[in-house]
């Protein structure tokens, strides 16, 4: 590639375009990435502005509708056992998944990631203690502890988010620590240090931008995992209380209806929440994976 030093922006752009055309292996995010990212954004928007949409009340049933009816013109996804509109519950239920997912991941990042950066950078006793603690923490099946705590403490949304975030922290700690360590000993960090930069400044300006790709893609995986955790809790009846909808407890209701114990079956109450959950998780995973592949300089091309 010829390197021509020029101020002409157009020429530079032309060069880049030519280089991209000549090298088809150059990494792109791909159409799948954008489709999935848009889906996530769509779900987030729907959930946020749900109250502005012309949806029937998700919590109260409309007795003039059919019970456990399938998809129809008045109820696009059908109704559930208590005469409530499934579509509406699905959209409102997205709020729970998204809040717990992103909120929990954020808490985990703050509680786990920030100490990780400091302790990895400074090393010393604090680092050893924290590291061993995280090992012990991770030896536990977190779900058991979460179930226990939530059972006692209460099912409020913020409590659940907090607890899950707390338990996500050790894992995030380990990842961020490993990433920070790999950059902390590099020369450009030493250079900044020699210039008299404070630790915080170094962490924020030198190290953070480099580990950001790892954090973002791992963070999205964490979101997906947390959503699964919340969904499992909800299925077990340990998440938000009825009548508030969440995809997990909708699945729970659907599952209990399946066994026909109540005399009716409603497969739609299983199919739609399951599909919604599947799509959201799938898109999160795709976005996380594509981001990781895009930023991973060391990936081997076969």
């Amino acid at each position: 590639m010829s390197s021509v030093v020029t101020d002409d922006l157009a020429e530079i752009k032309e060069e880049i375009a030519a280089e991209e055309a000549a090298d088809p292996t150059r990494k792109k995010l791909g159409w799948l990435f954008w489709v999935c990212a848009s889906f996530i954004v769509l779900v987030a928007l729907l959930a946020t502005f749900a109250s502005l949409l012309p949806l029937p009340n998700p919590d109260l049933g409309n007795y003039s509708s059919v019970q456990n009816g399938g998809p129809s013109w008045s109820h696009w996804l059908g109704t559930d056992d208590l005469y409530r509109d499934i579509l509406s519950r699905l959209i409102y239920g997205a709020r729970i998944s998204l809040v717990v997912g992103f909120g929990g991941a954020l808490i985990g990042l703050v509680l786990g990631g920030i100490p990780a950066m400091y302790s990895a950078y400074r090393r010393g006793r604090v680092d050893t203690v924290l590291n061993t603690t995280s090992y012990v923490f991770l030896a536990f099946p977190a779900i058991v502890a979460v179930i226990a705590i939530v059972s006692f403490w209460g099912h409020a949304l913020w409590k659940i988010t907090l607890i899950i975030g707390l338990f996500a922290a050790p894992l995030i700690y380990r990842i961020v620590r490993a990433s920070t360590l790999s950059y902390a000993s590099r020369d450009f960090v030493l250079a900044a240090k020699a210039l008299g930069a404070s630790d915080t400044r170094i962490l924020a300006r030198e190290i953070l931008p480099n580990i950001m790709p790892t954090i973002v893609s791992f963070g999205l995986i964490a979101v997906a995992t947390i959503i699964v955790l919340e969904g499992s809790l909800a299925f077990l009846g340990l998440s938000v209380e009825p009548p508030t909808p969440s995809w997990g407890n909708m699945l729970n209701e659907g599952a209990s209806l399946l066994t026909g114990a109540k005399g009716q079956t409603n497969p739609w109450l299983v199919i739609f929440p399951a599909t919604a959950m599947f799509l959201l998780l799938f898109c999160l995973n795709v976005v996380a994976d594509k981001l990781r592949a895009y930023f991973d300089v060391t990936e081997i091309k076969l």
Binding site: A22, D23, P24, T25, K301
Partner: protein, 374 residues
């Protein structure tokens, strides 16, 4: 020494499909090898010599490789033959010694098992028979106390011993053709000579044909019957060994020879590296591939690619302006402590009659150019 024609390669072309286009690794190579004889293939990294040896054997991955031409072993065409046909030949007729024994031996398998594996599969020996044969092989390749080493893992052996184990594995089923791909690169200088001597002795004892692939002219000088010099995927010179050293025709061969440091040189003599880089194999140049680096280059060299012509019996080269007797280097020609930027100047001293440089026994030369492995 029976003179049966074991290997015949005719106009072999090998190209790889890459994302940036088709890479011409080997272009139009032909050679022959008789039983009991040794052929040396010399070239720098990227010259295509390793690809050539693997293509002859049939070890290249099928998926992205295109091979055309003809490779005949003992009369049978084996180029692009199906794998099950090749497997009948591998190890029992043709065997290969690989370059780096540390990565070429299975790191989690004991060496004894690695030797007995082909014995049990191809020769159908029983477990005990195979072990006996393996122990005797270990002795033949000069490994002391073979019984103790039998159960060792590769990482427990030294580099030289690992290479001997590789030789033992290759010879296990008594092949008739041995391909040795850089068998001594990476070994200590003293060990290199031992390994080469060992190979020579085994070849003689078993009347095998051997192909010795290396970047080091010193290795092939006294141990081969015929030498092929490769550059950028082409054969640029071919001659019986002593002819090559006495009357080399290619400027490239001359440059290779001159880039070798000599023991006789005074200390701190500058190494004469060949300037420039090998050409891009994705877009082979129209003219002679060596043109950008040739000290004797003329305008015709840039425009037309010289064909390989057999100028004297057994001696072929591909050059428009082959070296004259006056231009050829003699034994002490490169001992001038000159600047390494010596392009355009031929180091002639008029003495051409002496045997090329007699670099026998002196091994471990540095590579003429970069050490990126082929």
């Amino acid at each position: 020494m029976s003179g049966r024609r074991l290997l015949e390669v005719e106009d072999l072309n090998v190209s790889f499909a890459t994302s940036r286009g088709s890479l011409q690794a080997v272009q139009g190579v032909s050679l022959t090898l008789d039983q009991g004889k040794t052929l040396g293939i010399v070239g720098e990294s990227g010259s295509g010599k390793t690809v050539l040896s693997r293509a002859i054997m049939g070890l290249l991955p099928r998926a992205s490789t295109t091979q055309t031409g003809s490779v005949r072993y003992d009369g049978t065409e084996i180029l692009n033959a199906p794998n099950d046909q090749l497997r009948k030949l591998w190890s029992t007729h043709i065997a290969m010694i690989f370059q780096d024994p540390m990565t070429s031996l299975n790191p989690v398998q004991r060496i004894g098992n690695q030797i007995t594996e082909p014995l049990r599969i191809h020769l159908k020996l029983s477990k005990d028979e195979a072990k006996e044969t393996a122990l005797s092989l270990l002795m033949q390749v000069g490994i002391p106390s073979p019984v103790e080493r039998y159960d060792a893992y590769p990482f427990q052996l030294s580099g030289g011993m690992r290479q001997r184990v590789m030789i033992a594995i290759a010879l296990a089923c008594a092949p008739r053709l041995l391909m040795a791909d850089e068998p001594t690169t990476g070994l200590d200088v003293t060990v290199q000579a031992q390994i080469l001597d060992l190979l020579g002795k085994l070849q003689h004892d078993r009347d095998m044909a051997m192909v010795l692939v290396t970047h080091d002219l010193g290795v092939v000088a006294t141990r081969t019957d015929e030498i092929i010099v490769m550059y950028a995927g082409n054969v640029v010179e071919r001659a019986p060994t002593n002819v090559l050293f006495k009357s080399m025709a290619m400027p490239y061969t001359e440059a290779l020879l001159q880039s070798m440091p000599r023991i006789a040189d005074p200390s701190h003599t500058r190494l004469k590296a060949i300037e420039g880089r090998p050409p891009d194999l994705l877009h082979p140049p129209a003219g002679c591939p060596f043109a950008p680096r040739c000290p004797y280059v003329q305008s015709r060299c840039w425009e037309e690619k010289p064909p390989l012509v057999e100028a004297a019996p057994g001696h072929s080269y591909a050059c428009w302006y082959p070296l004259t007797a006056a231009e050829r280097p003699g034994p002490a020609s490169s001992s001038e402590p000159s600047d390494s930027s010596s392009d355009g100047s031929s180091s002639s001293d008029g003495s051409d009659g002496t045997d090329g440089s007699a670099p026998s026994g002196r091994t471990g030369q540095s590579e003429p150019t970069e050490t990126v492995q082929a």
